[in-house]
Symmetry: C2
Subunit: 259 residues, 2 copies
């Protein structure tokens, strides 16, 4: 059977790589990924054929993974985090969909046995590093307008504000794009306090990890880069300090029972 | 150092238990959990002191975990999924917060070294089992009104509908409560097509797993129980069938580039 694994390796710390994903990599001869993700995996990738296409080559990466698998090579399409969350998995299925509609010329793709393996996403790495920021209803919004019209993104931020969701922003800025994050901040400020706690988590779970806890009113794109996760608490999220430790959590509503 | 691990074990399949969580369990002598979660872990729990309090005893479970750790016993508070997502982590920090405010009488809790370890959540297990349903902006909403007023929940569903988020419903029904899910369906139907694909995933990644893909108009609480994850696509999510395989994915906007 022609096999394609589509897998996420988690935020970086190999202790958060699931055995299922590790075994899928071990069972593959071809690894298709953005090179940095494979570098993070270290020795696990030794002896594998690496197909590391640069950022921006997502469509070619998905095609290549399907092509290699269809040639009978055991293949893994790899991303960090959860490959189903703002990553490559959806693109593979979009290509399959196009083939089923006759819009591609690769019927051999349809014989590939696909298995998707989830991973720990950045929002989870961030929330757990500071406590329990995702403790109640939350949403994720990508601020990249390369593929999604800004009007759609803006509408979602407005709805997140109105619904008082904890909000995790993926792709908060890029090298060429940084104004969306400050606009998002201003929209959220219409629905929750200026003092709402915000997690700025950079290179989460990796050796160079840095974590800052700030207030929503102080959120600024200049303090954020492509390796940064920004998660904004809801109106009830709390920042607590215990000696040299500090935590963020979003309560679930036990306060009445505890009182 | 007095140590408390707060960890999630993933959806059930031990291949999705992270090494970090497994090592934390191995390093603990006391495991505090709802018993079913420990049963799912099998041999890993052998020789540990199990403190399995029933459902509904969440506050006592959190207190017990803090108390045991404060006594110097290496302790793990365990849940399935991600313990930071609709699970016990937030309650521990709420108790700490109360102690810091002088509302509890357990200053010894403040000496406990806490580490939170994330896990694969049910929405991720579900989305990956059927492809890439979480491929674009999404939210999670708990339908339990035990701790959150229904008006708050309803408002969030309305915002999720208006923002066209993929929506994962946690706690979709309980033994005593089932009307919220059909109301949620009706609210979402105001903002996306009746044919929007919905994943009904029961006992995800466990031996008894069952997965159904239905249309939003056919979603009915009678087909859902406490072991079920319900994830509703956005207005662009696609259900594709390739021979005896079927998939759900939410596109990210590559269509124009692919055309």
């Amino acid at each position: 059977m022609k096999k394609l694994f589509i897998l996420g390796t988690g935020p970086g710390d190999l202790q958060l790589l699931t055995p299922k994903a590790e075994q899928a990599i071990a069972a593959s001869t071809e690894l298709v990924a953005y090179g940095l993700y494979l570098d993070l995996l270290g020795d696990i990738c030794t002896g594998k054929n690496r197909h590391d296409l640069p950022l921006g080559e997502e469509i070619n990466r998905a095609r290549l993974a399907l092509d290699l698998a269809a040639q009978g090579k055991d293949t893994a399409l790899v991303s960090s985090g959860d490959i189903g969350i703002y990553a490559m998995a959806t693109l593979v299925f979009e290509l399959l969909d196009r083939q089923l509609q006759g819009l591609e010329k690769s019927p051999q793709w349809l014989d590939v046995d696909i298995q998707v393996i989830p991973g720990i996403s950045a929002m989870q790495a961030g929330a757990s590093a500071v406590g329990a920021l995702l403790g109640h209803d939350f949403c994720t919004i990508s601020l990249s307008d390369l593929l999604t019209p800004w009007e759609t993104i803006k509408k979602r931020i407005e709805c997140a504000a109105a619904g008082d969701f904890v909000v995790s922003f993926y792709n908060p800025v890029s090298k060429k794009r940084d104004w969306q994050l400050n606009t998002a901040r201003d929209i959220l400020l219409t629905g929750r306090p200026a003092t709402t706690p915000v997690l700025i988590g950079r290179q989460l779970t990796r050796p160079e990890q840095s974590i800052k806890i700030i207030q929503l009113q102080d959120l600024d794109a200049k303090d954020v880069d492509m390796f940064t996760m920004v998660s904004v608490g809801n109106s009830e999220s709390r920042h607590i300090v215990n000696g040299d430790k500090q935590w963020l959590y979003t309560p679930r509503g036990y306060a009445k029972k505890l009182a």
